[in-house]
């Protein structure tokens, strides 16, 4: 009988063994996630309720009023408006340029792969590299474009624009790659049908291509907006937050609130950033879902 045979394992205990194995497999990731994601999230809320002294040795309870004070305060609001401005500067332009590159390179020509590699190449540069490279172009003393007034890094009104240009350039590669993939996923027959229906190239693009790649574009939109809200390295390298604090994005402010004295307010700002990213992403996804339902 089966129960006597030591080589035979029983199906009943398989469930338990599988569950134990599953938890073992998930444990490493879970430990990291708790330690560096969930626990810090909790800590943010906690820190936001207190004000610490300079050395972090003592803390004073401030309570939820610190939240309202910081979130409506000029520091946070200015950081938010600068970040928002950064989004508006980098995302629309980035998308349009990326689409232009992708549409141009999505055709059968000899050597098209070379062009495709060139267009994708900015993906190789990190934010730091892109910033250093752009510094060459827009640095106020010897930058090649130092006389281009709307990019000037020494003018508080335009400094953010100069920094934004470096991001637009850096994002070209990623935007190109993703948009091209979206274009290539459209079956050839649809273009042929549109041509047979008498659509000219512009009509084809706006009435046929664009709607069909809209899910991809929405995805890209979310990605680029999140990137823009996270802007830090380019500010750190190109302007250091200046001139006159005109490039101090939210993350910049958060980064510079690491001292115990500032941790309370910094944490509230971080929560503000978190909430905004959530809301923006959620809003985009709900639009995306509506689009997809209508489209398909």
């Amino acid at each position: 009988m089966s129960s006597d045979d030591p080589h035979v394992r029983h199906l009943g205990s398989r469930r338990t063994r599988d569950a134990v194995l599953a938890y073992a497999f998930l444990l490493p990731s879970a430990v990291i996630f708790v330690a560096f994601f969930f626990y810090p999230l909790y800590r943010l809320f906690y820190l936001g309720l207190y004000q610490q002294n300079r050395f972090g040795t003592a803390e004073r309870w401030v309570g939820p009023s610190q939240y309202t004070k910081v979130l409506t305060g000029s520091d946070f609001l200015s950081g938010l408006s600068i970040s928002a401005r950064y989004v508006l500067l980098t995302v629309p332009l980035g998308l349009v340029l990326g689409v232009m590159l992708a549409v141009s390179a999505n055709r059968r020509l000899r050597g098209i792969k070379i062009f495709q590699t060139i267009f994708a190449s900015t993906v190789a540069s990190s934010v730091a590299v892109a910033s250093v490279v752009f510094f060459v172009l827009i640095n106020p003393q010897v930058g090649y474009f130092r006389n281009v007034s709307f990019l000037s890094l020494s003018n508080p009104a335009t400094a953010l624009q100069g920094v934004a240009l470096s991001s637009v350039w850096q994002n070209l590669g990623l935007t190109f790659i993703i948009t091209l993939a979206g274009l290539q996923a459209v079956p050839e027959e649809i273009y042929e049908a549109a041509t047979l229906d008498g659509y000219g190239p512009f009509r084809r693009f706006f009435r046929v291509t664009l709607p069909l790649i809209s899910p991809t574009m929405m995805f890209l939109l979310v990605v680029l907006v999140v990137f823009a809200f996270q802007a830090f390295a380019q500010i750190d390298i190109l302007t250091g937050g200046g001139p006159a604090g005109s490039t101090q994005t939210l993350v910049w402010k958060i980064f510079n609130s690491q001292q115990p004295l500032d941790q309370g307010t910094g944490s509230v700002m971080a929560i503000g950033l978190f909430a905004i990213t959530l809301v923006v992403t959620a809003a985009q996804f709900s639009i995306l879902n509506r689009r997809v339902h209508y489209g398909n």
Partner: protein, 278 residues
Amino acid sequence: MATELQQATWKKAAWYVVLTALSVVVLFPVYMALVRALSTPVSYVKAGQPLHPVDIEWGIFRRAWNLGDLGPKFGVSAVMTGVIVTAELTTALLAAYAFTFLVFPLKRVLFALFMATLMLPIEVTLIPNVQSIRDLHLLNSYPGLVGPFLATAFGTFLIRQGFMGIPRDLRDASQLDGFGHLAFLRRVAIPVTRPVIASFAVISFLSAWNQYTWPRAVVTQGRWETIQIGLKSLSAAKVEESNIGLAAAILAALPILVLLIFLQRQLIRGLTAGAVKG
């Protein structure tokens, strides 16, 4: 009247012009960076900043390497990246396996929690995380550098998608063949989904090598600077030495450039995952 062939040829030529123009725009910053890295800064400015290099110093890359102490920085970046990629692959493979092939209580809740971490970028959790690292005396150390990046929800998601694509028949056959979970993972699941795993590995490498914000927060000693944060100090030099910072930046981008050229397919697949169906 232009024949159809002539029209087609004109059209082609026009596109080549457009593509070349766009390429120039895309490559211009890199080109200028190269020009100014190779040129001697003072001579270059004196010559009115032409579009070609002036007074070329071919040894600038070696000089930048030495002056900027790039060796150790590349070393730190390399070790950090190596550890992160290995750790991410391991944790993601195991987690993805559990979520795909194992049945256990709270599976859906746990998966949702895992994916929720995608909403918590390092910039948001910076303050408490840096404080933790400080409290554990792990500033300026590899554990401090790699900590938050040892697990990955994106990787778990991607590899899980790959695992879910394995036909059920294959699992059944290996059950009959007597493969337990680890044997199935090693002998079947991983080899069969190798393209997805490779794509993720490339993305993981890219992301780890390019990290800036977190290393900037947990490194305070020069010895521990990664190449990315090393660029900040190198680029802040005086105008006369601006070519050093540029040369360093070009060197810093080289590994990824190599990746782009040799592993383009995997890179693209990894970047487009989730963006495009199929």
